[in-house]
Amino acid sequence: MATARKSRGESRILRYLILGTWALVCLLPILWFLSIGFRPRTEVITPEPIYWPTFSLDAWRLLLSDWPIAKYLLNSVLAVGGSVVISLILGIPAAYALSRYEFRWREDIGFYILSTRMMAPAIVAVPIFFLFRSMGLLDTIWALMLIYAAVNLSLVIWIIRSYMLDIPKELEDAARTDGASDLRILWEIIIPACLPGIITAAVIAAIFAINEFLFTLLIASTANAYTMSVALANFTGGSDGIIYNAIALVSFIAFVPILILVILIQKHLSRGLTMGAVKG
């Protein structure tokens, strides 16, 4: 008995040791760029490694004095939030139609929607630029919302559709005999039942949108529409060279909102990512 308990205790220590090491490996890049963000520029690139760098708020001061970093962050949040709302408003009814209604070419339409994801974005970059110019939307948040939503819509539709396919048809039949219309069924039965899927789709779309670079660079030309991802690029050029400690700090600021989002909805997210798989 005693030895069994002891060996169980040992295996537990071993398990924590392995997991702890792995967690450290995963966290190391974050700790590393955090440490770069808070050291002076002279200590960023050195021939010898520095184990105890000098703590410095140089990068902070640079960001706050020379760059409208709060504005970039706000742009990111608005563009990403707006795009997620747009993709959900369009994506949920589309997913419902693709998962429930019988109509001609249903599978083909579904595949066509997914295929928009298979193309390299650069191919459509020029037409998109002219399109937004003719609409007078260049360098606006609205353009970013639309383009992020367009890029993510196929993903959102497919994720939500797979959840809707898992909802028993009996639920809808019951609601229909209870007297509910199609829209009522969607709103009161289907959406609440696949909420984990909707949240999963929203988070994934938000992460893709926040990291989107090409179209943002194309559309944004001033602080009007610069987002965090494009702002990063601003630290690589110019007379000052590449300002690594500022880049590290901006990366960290861009990373924090996603981290908070994921922690807040972690419960739904893990349920959402596994639910479809278990039911097969």
Partner: protein, 348 residues
């Protein structure tokens, strides 16, 4: 309250015929059970009455009105599903309330009607819970309450008890029957369980391969089966069906010899229920194959030639296997079927 008439209903899925040319009159306040194996078309028939599927041909009339073109939500029909189909995000109270809201019943009436429906199924103290926090039996009672709360013209029940364990099924059966008598609502009930059909129904409709095999009261179906399908489907254990030859007023098969009417001749099937077989006699000469005591009765299987014959024996009957045994068949309860499986009747 309403009667239901199905007139020459056909349901085809591409080349597959789900229901073929079905006509049926269901009386007001009747409890009708559609009984048959899975895939026989019984659920499809019910779904057409509910309006969840459209018949390919034929008319459906509920309460004197042709409802073919009326959407499910506008038919005054309530349905209970095999998987309960409770809305998982709503409390039981909200679940029961849902049909009232959808049908525009004044909010001032809701509470009283919900509580009354919940009382009827003894679920009054669970109204605040979500469906996930209830047992299977409680969920099914909640589904029943949701069906009764709006006082529909017709109840449709699609295998409502098949997900419950045997003991619960028995008590729910009684509850459903009591409720139907109390509310006097025309009810169509689908099941593959012949015990449910026998105990609940005013009339049973036995279906196979999309077609009606026989319609009748439980007694008629049991004591006067129209063909071998009905004979073999009803009864537990089911009727013994033995193929053999009839000639000059005697039916013979390996190990079996019984007198039969003179109009029965040629290749026929003899049907005899286990309870009409008695230990001691010479209609069947065979060996004991197995003995299954159940407490109140003992089931005995006798091997006669290649046929295994089920016999309902006395509760204290015991025997080793392979012992020679003679069985008598009750001559008043023998059924003969022709080669196509149809019953051979005296007048023929």
């Amino acid at each position: 309250m309403a009667s239901i008439h199905l007139q020459n209903i056909v349901k085809r899925y591409g080349g597959f015929v789900g229901v073929q040319n079905m006509s049926l009159d269901i009386a007001d306040e009747e409890f009708l059970v559609l009984l048959g194996p899975s895939g026989c078309g019984k659920t499809t028939t019910m779904r057409m009455i509910a309006g969840l599927e459209e018949p390919t041909e034929g008319q459906i009339v509920i309460g004197g009105e042709v409802v073919n073109d009326i959407d499910a939500r506008d038919r005054d029909v309530a349905m209970v599903f095999q998987g309960y189909a409770l809305y998982p995000n709503m409390s039981i109270y909200e679940n029961i309330r849902f049909p009232l809201r959808m049908r525009g019943i004044p909010a001032s009436e809701h509470d009283a009607r919900i509580r009354k429906a919940a009382e009827m199924v003894e679920l009054g103290s669970f109204l605040d819970r979500k469906p996930g926090a209830l047992s299977g039996g409680q969920r099914q009672r909640a589904a029943l309450a949701r069906a009764v709360v709006r006082q529909p013209q017709v109840f449709l029940m699609d295998e409502p008890l098949s997900n419950l364990d045997a003991k619960l099924r028995q008590s729910m059966r009684v509850q459903i029957k009591h409720m139907q008598r109390q509310l006097k609502v025309t009810t169509v009930y689908v099941t593959h369980d012949q015990i449910e059909a026998m105990t609940l129904a005013d009339r049973i409709v036995i279906m196979n391969k999309g077609a009606i095999q026989q319609v009748g009261t439980p007694d008629e179906i049991y004591s006067d089966p129209a063909n071998t399908f009905v004979a073999g489907f009803i009864g537990s254990p089911p009727m013994n069906l033995i193929q053999g030859t009839a000639r000059d007023g005697r039916f013979t098969a390996p190990g079996i010899s019984v007198p039969c009417p003179r109009f029965v001749h040629g290749q026929v099937t003899l049907g005899v229920r286990p309870e009409d077989c008695h230990v001691g006699g010479d209609n069947l000469q065979g060996q004991v194959y197995g003995v299954e005591p159940t407490g109140d009765v003992t089931y005995l299987t006798v091997l006669g030639g290649t046929n295994k014959i089920e016999v309902k024996a006395a509760r204290d009957y015991r025997s080793d296997i392979d012992v020679a045994i003679g069985i008598a068949f009750d001559p008043a309860h023998l059924y003969f079927f022709d080669e196509s499986g149809q019953r051979i009747r005296g007048a023929a």
